[in-house]
């Protein structure tokens, strides 16, 4: 058996190129002056600086968490630069002024930003290192009253919305990385969908890390007002580098009464090489708050990053609110993932669903960590959790850490879990029908992940499936 499953050479990471452009980068290091400088560079109003400074001071008192089931060398927080932006200034809203090298970068990544080549039916906010370089389709969205812009623009043009909702779901004091992000975040995406409006298209943010030795700290805030609907997609890539880079983002979702927010992620940060050198540390806090009758649905396909540490969660604040978490996490070579979700049932008759598919190959280590909490007042709360792990080869690991705390007798909480090994017999069966080992593994794994893939918007489901194939390439001999 084990002679069959052996490591081959992984395919080149297609998004691993570097774009050569002039950038303004702050010198390495972090102190209050750096925080002030970031705020000054972004011409922020005083409330933002105040908030950043509070976050920074809080961060100084916090310790990096070491409870995740991942291992890495100590991060030198003074060794990284906290701000990097393309030098050529972009006139807000005018994509034609974006540095052509940057436009080419996105085109190469399959995300054309210019009008004539634009993805049909998808509005894109492109984040390059620390700043947003352009947002497409905004005029079309504006007709519906939808605000979709970079975080910096939102702070400038809609400070009242930012002040009201920033930190309302993930306070700056939430955790070590969220505090760091709150202090130094440079840009990100902002979206507001007004009352009763259904967004006519998918909104998406495409994150790209380019500069070396910088951290990326972006922040996304999405507010769906009463009865609104929005589906949001997030993609990410980074160049191949030998050193590890920190990505500590925060995403906050607010679904007001009767609103629905669907947030899908296809995460393909550089994962490091076969020996585990380099790759992104993806330490991200994602959380949504669902008010009465609202629904928040997270779907994530995590194929990249050297280390993934994230738990997209839902606070089921209002009665009859719904939270969903669909996840595929793949690790190959030396990748490590500790990911899952928290479903916090506060309101009555709140429902949550968790479907997690973890795939481990090579010497990868995959942990599902989830918390289901039912508060004393959450009468009629329901949770269903399904947590499946698949092992490819015999040097990888799969772990499950479910935490279930129920303080209400009327709650119904179900947890199902399974661990399986990819079958030698399945691979042979598919090979006997003419498929290569890699196609076979890809097909078996895609089948395993089907319940999650069907939650993704069409165009991303295909991309996710392809990414999965690339990530697992070389995992079976």
């Amino acid at each position: 058996m084990s002679s069959q499953i052996d490591s081959l050479i992984a395919r080149e990471y297609a998004a691993g190129f570097v774009t050569d452009i002039e950038q303004d980068t702050l010198p390495p290091g972090l102190d209050e002056d750096v925080v002030r400088e970031i705020s000054r560079l972004k011409a922020e109003p005083p409330f933002m600086l105040e908030w950043r400074l509070k976050a920074y001071r809080r961060w100084l008192t916090m310790k990096e968490p070491h409870w995740p089931n991942v291992h890495y060398d100590a991060i030198d927080y003074q060794g990284a630069s906290y701000f990097s932006a393309p030098r050529k200034k972009t006139l807000l809203g005018s994509l034609e002024d974006v540095d052509p090298e940057i436009l080419k970068t996105y085109e190469k990544l399959g995300i054309p930003l210019l009008e004539q080549k634009r993805l049909a039916g998808v509005a894109v906010d492109a984040i390059f290192d620390s700043v947003s370089v352009g947002t497409t389709m905004r005029d079309e969205l504006a007709k519906h009253g939808i605000i979709f812009c970079s975080f910096g623009e939102a702070v400038r043009d809609h400070p009242e919305l930012v002040e009201k909702y920033l930190g309302s779901v993930v306070p700056y004091s939430d955790n070590f990385f969220a505090a760091l992000n709150s202090a130094v975040f440079s840009d990100g995406s902002f979206c507001y969908v007004p009352k009763g409006v259904r967004s006519p298209m998918e909104l998406s943010t495409y994150f790209r890390i380019n500069a070396a030795d910088t951290g990326q700290f972006e922040r996304t805030l999405i507010v769906a007002d009463e009865g609104a609907y929005v589906s949001y997609l997030e993609g990410c890539t980074a160049p191949k580098r030998d050193t590890n880079q920190l990505h500590a983002a925060v995403v906050e979702l607010v679904a007001l009464k009767g609103a629905t927010v669907k947030y899908s992620t296809v995460q393909n940060w550089y994962a490091g090489d076969k020996e585990g050198r380099g790759g992104i540390y993806n330490f991200v806090t994602k959380r949504g708050k669902a008010y009465e009758n609202a629904k928040i649905s997270w779907t994530q396909v995590e194929t990249g990053s050297a280390i993934t540490w994230k738990y997209p969660s839902v606070i089921l604040q209002g009665d009859n609110s719904t939270g969903e978490f669909y996840s595929v996490a793949v690790v190959n070579n030396h990748q490590q993932a500790d990911t899952g979700t928290k479903m916090i049932h506060v309101g009555k008759n709140t429902k949550s669903t968790i479907v997690s598919k973890g795939i481990s190959a090579g010497q990868g280590n995959n942990s599902y960590r989830g918390r289901v909490f039912v508060s004393p007042r959450a009468d009629g709360a329901r949770n269903y959790t399904q947590c499946d792990s698949m092992l490819v080869g015999n040097r990888c690991g799969a772990h499950t850490f479910p935490y279930i705390e129920v303080a209400n007798k009327n709650a119904i909480v179900e947890h199902e879990a399974s661990t399986s090994k990819i079958g030698e017999d399945q691979i042979f069966y598919l090979k006997q029908r003419g498929l290569s080992a890699e196609q076979a593994v890809s097909m078996i794994v895609s089948g395993f992940c089907k319940e999650v893939f069907k939650e993704l918007p069409m165009e991303f489901a295909l991309e996710a499936q392809q990414l999965l194939g690339i990530t697992l390439e070389g995992s079976v001999g």
Binding site: S3, Q4, G423, E424, D425, Q426, F428, Y429, L430, K431, Q432, R433, G434, L435, S436, A437, Q439, M443, I444, S446, G447, F448, C449, K450, E451
Partner: protein, 277 residues
Amino acid sequence: MVDVAASGLESSMKHKVEMLDIKGLKASAGEKEILRGISLSVGKGEIHAIMGPNGSGKSTLAQVLAGNPAFEVTAGSVSFEGRDLLEMPPEARAQAGIFLAFQYPIEIPGVSNAYFLRSAYNEVRKARGEDEVDPMEFVGIVEDKLKLVDIDPEMLNRSVNVGFSGGEKKRNEILQLAVLEPKLAILDETDSGLDIDALHTVADGVNKLRNRNRSFIVVTHYQRLLNYIVPDYVHVLSNGRIVKSGDKQLALELEEKGYDWLAEHHAREGAPALSGR
């Protein structure tokens, strides 16, 4: 289609075009030697039945021809249309036109039968230098084949073999055979676990797929299947060797006298293992 069988041993041998040639094949699983020197040649359009008691090596022979890595070939050679089969990985054998209908078809959860079939079909086409077909074209191709084995089109949307009854699984194998149109089809105990009606359907499907260019190796424990799929040759395996070869009459004789008769007969004669013919 049955004219090959009707034409008899002698005449078909004269015009024989070699497809598969097995010489002195030995194979083991771990330490245990299972095939202990098999020689057999199969001509174009011929149907060979491989019979034998449990543990005689019938299924191993089928698996080894398909390239299952669980078995190690320790001696001998196999050529398929002049190519060294043992050098080829399983997918290359499949692409070259060898199809194995599994005794225990494997379940692939979450993968639709239609997607699986089309992927396999396209791989085989690519290997032949033909264009891949898209899902719409494929619907047209598969429709006729469904009728052949009396399969409900709804089955295309179900996950490969998941929740299929024994009969459905076997029919699904024949559906794949029909779609992939191999040169050599190996049926590994396709009759096992089938009731008489299902056996009829499956045999009927196979008979419709017989033609002068397609060869079959039919592995079976019971003579019953050979009433429906009439072979040109019958070989009896015992303890990893072919101990007797003949025409379809041999199968009937076995049915009557049992495998013990042959083992005794073989021991009494003290003869070396008979080769293919």
